[in-house]
């Protein structure tokens, strides 16, 4: 497996690979840019944003959707908190659109969706709790997340499905922090639907600040 390293003109403050099913807690300073690279394509990256100085001021998926009058996220989308503070803006996106309706997988929701055999499979909300703990982020602070690179079509008839991704190897999305942030990431381990192309793969995080 060969991974082409993305080398930019300025030195990265962060350059790390998150393995399939693993996670990360990244502190991004105001003005900092965080790029998430879908190294192998069709990989859902479940992501939460918190004001680093007040974790109650956290990303709100449905306030973000309402404020932009559209369901899908892409370049220009302002990611807002429940207080309607701007936490970050998507400033670059080679994938085209991202989901924020579908939430994160959990062991409990896997059982409901797919059956008892999934009870002990690894899931995003396990990763959120594990990596969030360092920032005091517990169950009550787990909000509804962004699913970068995930394709969840919502239709005019009120339907919703999980579909094969629109992403491809090397596609990336970049956010610029509007204030100091905790960015909590789960590189989704889900194998029961097409959100990861049935085969979870690593992602790269590149930070510049």
């Amino acid at each position: 497996m060969t991974v082409t390293s993305t080398t930019a003109t300025t030195a990265a403050s962060l350059d790390t690979v998150v393995e399939a099913g693993d996670g990360a807690l990244v502190t991004v300073p105001s003005g900092g840019r965080l790029r998430i690279v879908d190294l192998h394509g069709n990989q859902a990256v479940d992501t939460l944003f918190y004001d680093a100085h007040d974790i109650d001021n956290r990303y709100s998926a449905f306030d973000t959707i309402r404020e932009q009058r559209a369901v899908f996220l892409t370049t220009g989308s302002r990611l807002v908190s429940t207080r309607l503070d701007e936490l970050a803006v998507i400033t670059d996106d080679t994938c085209g659109r991202h989901d924020t309706v579908g939430g994160a997988c959990s062991q409990e929701s896997n059982v409901i969706r797919y059956g008892e055999f999934t009870r002990h499979q690894h899931a995003c909300r396990q990763t959120f709790l594990r990596y969030g703990a360092k920032a005091g982020i517990g169950q009550r602070h787990l909000a509804h997340n962004v699913n970068f690179f995930m394709n969840v079509p919502v239709t005019s008839s009120g339907g919703l499905t999980f579909e094969d991704g629109l992403s491809a190897p090397g596609k990336y999305v970049e956010i610029t922090a509007s204030r100091d942030l905790f960015v909590l990431i789960s590189n989704c381990p889900q194998v029961n639907n097409p959100c990861n192309g049935w085969d979870p793969t690593p992602i790269q995080l590149l930070g510049r600040w």
């Binding site: 899908f72 409901i112 919703l160």
Partner: protein
């Protein structure tokens, strides 16, 4: 002490309350009881949050939607919690579309209701905007448009509590609406019978687990 005989000892008296427009209200609802909301005027909106019996497990809209392949709340859906249990079942409604994609503006009165019960800002999970509809376009971004003439006076929705609940309700106008705030009537009662409506397999699984574990 022998309690006085009542005509039907299994039925508790119904609780009724008219929630005026532009206020917030909250109440406990015992498992098995139903909550019926009735729009008191055209353009009513009832924003609802719900917290389960253990006071941590909240209504989770993404899980509710993806497990039932829907982008709206309608009759025949189970409202699911963060931890995969059934909070309530939408047993009936005169409307087949209740918005759950567009949240609510910061609402000091709703936050105070949460605070009364020991909750706070961290519990501002996604809400349902009963009686409101925001249509989705089949365009590349799934653009949203508020539908102004959706609910009318007398429209109703009935929820059956599938575990002991706390419900939090705001009658502030929908965030995308220009209409004045309208009130809703609330009726909480123990129904004579509680058959499940027709449900998807996922919803049935959530109900079964809930009944086995806590209901």
């Amino acid at each position: 002490m022998t309690p006085a005989a009542t005509p039907n000892p299994t039925l508790t008296p119904a609780h009724t309350h008219e929630v005026p427009g532009a206020v917030a209200w909250s109440a406990p609802v015992r498992a098995g009881r139903t909550v019926t909301l009735t729009a008191l005027a055209d353009g009513a909106n009832a924003t609802m949050l719900m917290i389960g019996a253990d006071r941590l497990d909240r209504l989770n809209i993404p899980d509710t939607l993806k497990s039932q392949m829907s982008a709206r709340i309608k009759p025949g859906m189970v409202l699911m919690s963060d931890r995969g249990l059934a909070l309530a079942t939408v047993t009936a409604s005169s409307l087949d579309w209740h918005d759950c994609l567009t949240g609510a503006l910061p609402d000091q009165l709703l936050l105070l209701e949460l605070t009364k019960h020991g909750f706070g800002e961290a519990d501002l999970h996604a809400c349902i905007n009963f009686f409101s509809k925001v249509s989705v376009a089949d365009d590349p971004r799934a653009s949203l448009t508020y539908v102004p003439d959706h609910a009318h006076a007398g429209d109703t929705v009935t929820l059956r509590a599938d575990q002991d609940l706390l419900i939090f309700l705001s009658t502030a106008p929908h965030a995308l609406s220009d209409e004045p705030a309208a009130g809703v009537a609330v009726q909480i009662e123990t129904p004579a019978h509680t058959d499940d409506p027709e449900l998807r397999e996922e919803a049935t699984r959530a109900l079964r687990l809930t009944r086995e574990l806590i209901a």
